[in-house]
């Protein structure tokens, strides 16, 4: 009986984590219910499955993604808001043998760093960009983001996003798919389907490992703190509302590698 209890206690103390996660920085610093933890779990699993932890250079942006600066047992650099893509581009071009990952939010990727995302995609940089889309600027207190849905309320659109005045939400993967070559990998996954998201991230990283082209994965992610939602509403928003506008799936898959 006592043995059983000990096992239980150990299990509670040591939850299952990807090997590439850095245990010393867990539990992680994101809010309860935040999607970043899940996206980074999928990424950690993908890194483990591909056995690339020793070669990964991970870059995180500013915004909530900055909290991932010591998340992995991988070499990591925190950049400026929107600038992770060029930092990671520079590292990759200097050291093509490294697997270079730029991790950011929707503000960093689609607003302040949009020119970097567009041009890195156009140049077909052999890097992997992973973007968590939670429809708002969360670290700064929940302002409207390029991805805020029509009618969605935020601190800077308290009466709901008016698409007449503010345009439609950015469709990132669709944009990246339109400007990349056929050997790019582009997908939108969701924390609501972790198995699929992990597979997408593995394919994105494999595309870089193969040296074929740019790879980009947007992950739909929750932000209960700024959405001001309870668990059920949060999950409904991620699972039901977000995919109505942000279609989940692969947008560009390179043909199987020859040989």
């Amino acid at each position: 009986m006592s043995e059983c209890m000990e096992v239980t206690a150990t299990t509670l103390l040591e939850p299952k984590m990807p090997r590439s996660w850095r245990r010393a920085s867990k539990p992680h610093k994101f809010c309860p219910g935040c999607g970043h933890g899940d996206v980074l779990k999928a990424l950690g699993t993908a890194i483990d499955d591909l056995g690339i932890q020793d070669r990964v250079v991970f870059g995180c942006d500013i915004g909530c993604s900055l909290l991932a600066w010591d998340f992995f047992e991988c070499d990591t650099v925190q950049a400026h808001h929107g600038r992770t893509t060029p930092v990671i581009t520079g590292i990759k071009r200097a050291r093509p043998d490294r697997i270079c990952i730029a991790y950011m939010g929707d503000g960093g990727g689609y607003a302040i760093g949009a020119q970097h995302l567009v041009n890195a995609a156009t140049r077909n940089e052999r890097i992997t960009v992973i973007l968590a889309n939670n429809t708002n600027y969360a670290m700064t207190g929940g302002q409207m983001a390029p991805t805020t849905l029509p009618g969605q309320k935020t601190e800077t659109c308290p009466y709901g996003r008016d698409i007449e005045a503010m345009g439609n939400p950015t469709l990132g993967p669709e944009m990246v798919a339109a400007i990349t070559k056929e050997n790019a990998y582009v997908a939108r996954g969701t924390m609501a389907n972790m198995r699929q998201l992990t597979t997408m991230l593995k394919k994105a990283l494999q595309n870089q490992i193969d040296g074929r082209g740019f790879s980009f994965v947007e992950a739909l992610a929750s932000c209960p703190t700024n959405w001001r939602m309870n668990a059920k509403s949060t999950w409904d928003f991620v699972e039901k509302e977000m995919p109505n506008y942000f279609k989940v799936g692969e947008l560009k898959v390179p043909a199987p590698k020859e040989g």
């Binding site: 250079v57 950049a79 581009t89 520079g90």
Partner: protein, 367 residues
Amino acid sequence: MTDQTINQQKPVQGEKRMFMTGNEVIAYAALAAGAEMMCGYPITPQNEIMHYWTRLAPKYERRFLQTEDELSAGFSTLGGVLAGRRAFTATAGPGNVLMQEPLSMAEMMRIPIVLIVQQRGGPSTATVIYSQQEVTLTCYGGNGEGARIVYSPSNHQELYDYTLKAFNTAWTYRFPTFILGDGYQAKMRESLTIYDPAVRGVQMVPTEPIIGGPGAPGTEREAVHLRNTFNTEEELYEIITAMMGEYDRIAPSIVEHEAIQTDDAEILILSHGVVSRATAAAVRELREAGIKVGSFRPITLRPFPVEALRNALKPVKKMLIVESAQGQLAKLCKEAIYGETTPIEYIFKPGVGVTAEEVVAKVKAMA
């Protein structure tokens, strides 16, 4: 000659007398310094640095990336430096404004990037060739109080010498390092000797990966986790205090100046960069006319040669500060000599060159 033999050659061998533009000088100096990577974005008057680099670099397996803007040029250069490459970028004017963002990250994270600034007129787009109006921005352009090193060369030989030196300074002390030139120096042709640093006994400081180095992180070594965000005011205070303390300690070994006939000078002319060629010529002429005049030129604008300037001031009764800007050098000088009561006069010509004749006339009026 096969590609292989080309690659094994040093881009600059022995010593060679050349007649080049300043931008060409910088490209050759960067090659001779063993710079491995340049990322850049077009802006006049620095473009030809990229033009020469893109022609020469592939022959020696050096890298180049033309980016979408100066932000990207600066940040991807930082990526190259983090990966252990001797990497640099170049810019001017409004590009220098954008470049301050990556450079402030370099200050916080102690990334040894080298940035060449060829000053042009400002504010805004202004003029494309010449000014000395980027002194304040280049010396103090970051947000917060970062530490950086700024060299202001005055001729093509110095452009070469100090570009070589900038890489060594950056990689020795791990502070971002600037060469502050201008469009006249960039576009003008002049004679100089280019050389393989080894033949002059100059060893290039070896580089190493700051991130993504050898060994498995977590098992064979600690993973590298670099950040520029801090959680508490106290944490930041400690970092800035330590950084500034270190900068103050190393400053005496970095600081440089040139003093001409200052021992008995009753009038001291202060200038920097290309303008100091006019002031040096003026000193020669004025000395021939029997006027006790000398000139002082900070070569490092940051750290500023405070002690040397204060020493040079001892016999001086009047000072003249000359610059192609509205008092940016003057601000640095006045801070350095705080407490001195020597009267100061000025020739401020923002965005316009200064001739020896103007300086001679002014000093004669002061004498």
